[in-house]
Amino acid sequence: MANESPLVRFFLAAAEDDALLERYRKSPADTLRQHGVDEESIRVIVSGDMKAIRKLIKALRRPGIVVVIIVPAPR
């Protein structure tokens, strides 16, 4: 759970909590804000643009190991 973003935590909570879902339906941006979701993510979610939302959610996936290769500059 430590790696979960506030948005993912919100989606999982809303899937199992009808009262939370109802609060979201009445006031989506405020409800997301109360769950610690950042303003940019709120803007995308509230737009309802599925393509943008998919992109946003994909970017939230657990980061893997990042290998940085530094190539020496030509002399």
């Binding site: 759970m1 989606f11 999982l12 809303a14 899937a15 599925m50 996936r61």
Partner: protein, 284 residues
């Protein structure tokens, strides 16, 4: 203890569409591997089984999908061969548009292991519910978009037609097609459809919502505008049926009145919920 394989589907909206038997299979397996489409599904799986391993790294840019699938099958079957119980979880229904799930079950059985597949809620199930379509009325034809083209599938335009992965038409590698890069291929698909339907016939570009707080994406388009419509890789095209009249001679032989025959209707007729949703999304 011999190894055993259970292949499950998580549905489209996780965890709401995860069935009880799927949840139990995930909880009780020695090892869990998964291939899911979004961070919420992955997070839910890792809550249930923190050591579950993703198969997503089998996909690589430019690598043929077939090679990725073969690697997934080997990753699924490895622990089964070591005598462990394995649960392989996939997005949606594990037997619909998923090659490695079927192949893993087939290969496990060939090698003498017990293997089973549990059904999940597919994107097609969501489409029927969201668009208000009953495939029992007038029938329903369903093809992957590239398959529809390359095999020149013969369809009956008086029945519903569903084409999957229209945004990926003509692509056989793991790269996301993207728009406008895929427009020439979409034009080929558009021409093939207009050969069966009037060019002003309307279809629906549909995408099921993976999140409980979001509506599905539903966009009504003319078939002649398909190539300009920029469908996403996950977009499905639903084409409603053309009007059909029952055969009078067959009706007489079966002793059925014409009024007793259920006719297929476009999804936006006779369903106010679907109609208003589509109207709201029109042009979106």
């Amino acid at each position: 203890m011999p190894g055993r394989l259970t292949v499950v589907g998580l549905g489209i909206r996780v965890p709401g569409q995860v069935t009880d038997e799927t949840r139990r299979a995930i909880q009780s397996a020695d090892d869990v591997v998964y291939l899911v489409a979004d961070a919420t599904s992955e997070a839910w799986l890792r809550r249930v089984r923190p050591r579950a391993r993703s198969l997503a790294d089998c996909y690589r840019e430019g690598r043929p999908r077939e090679l990725a699938y073969r690697q997934m099958v080997e990753r699924i079957l490895g622990p089964v061969r070591e005598g462990r119980t394995v649960c392989a979880a996939f997005y949606g229904h594990p037997g619909v548009f998923v090659f490695p799930s079927h192949e893993a079950v087939r290969q496990a059985r060939r090698e003498g292991f017990e293997a089973r597949m549990l059904p999940g809620i597919s994107a097609e199930d969501c489409l029927f519910a969201d668009l208000g379509i009953d495939p029992g009325r007038g029938g329903c034809q369903s093809f992957e978009a590239t398959d529809f083209l390359v095999f020149r599938r013969r369809i009956d335009p008086r029945s519903s037609l569903i084409l999957w992965q229209v945004g990926m038409v003509g692509r056989i590698d793991a790269r996301r097609a993207g728009f406008p890069r895929n427009r020439p291929r979409l034009e080929i698909l558009q021409r093939a459809l207009v050969a069966w339907y009037p060019s002003d016939h309307e279809g629906v570009l549909y995408e099921a919502s993976p999140f409980v707080v979001l509506e599905p994406s539903v966009r009504r388009i003319r078939l002649s505008d398909l190539a300009r419509s920029a469908p996403d890789f996950a977009t499905t095209l639903y084409v409603p049926p053309l009007p059909a009249a029952p055969d009078a001679r067959v009706l007489r032989r079966l002793d059925i009145r014409s009024s007793e025959v259920q006719r297929a209707t476009p999804c936006w007729e006779g369903d106010s919920g679907a109609a208003s949703r589509i109207a709201r999304s029109r042009g979106g």
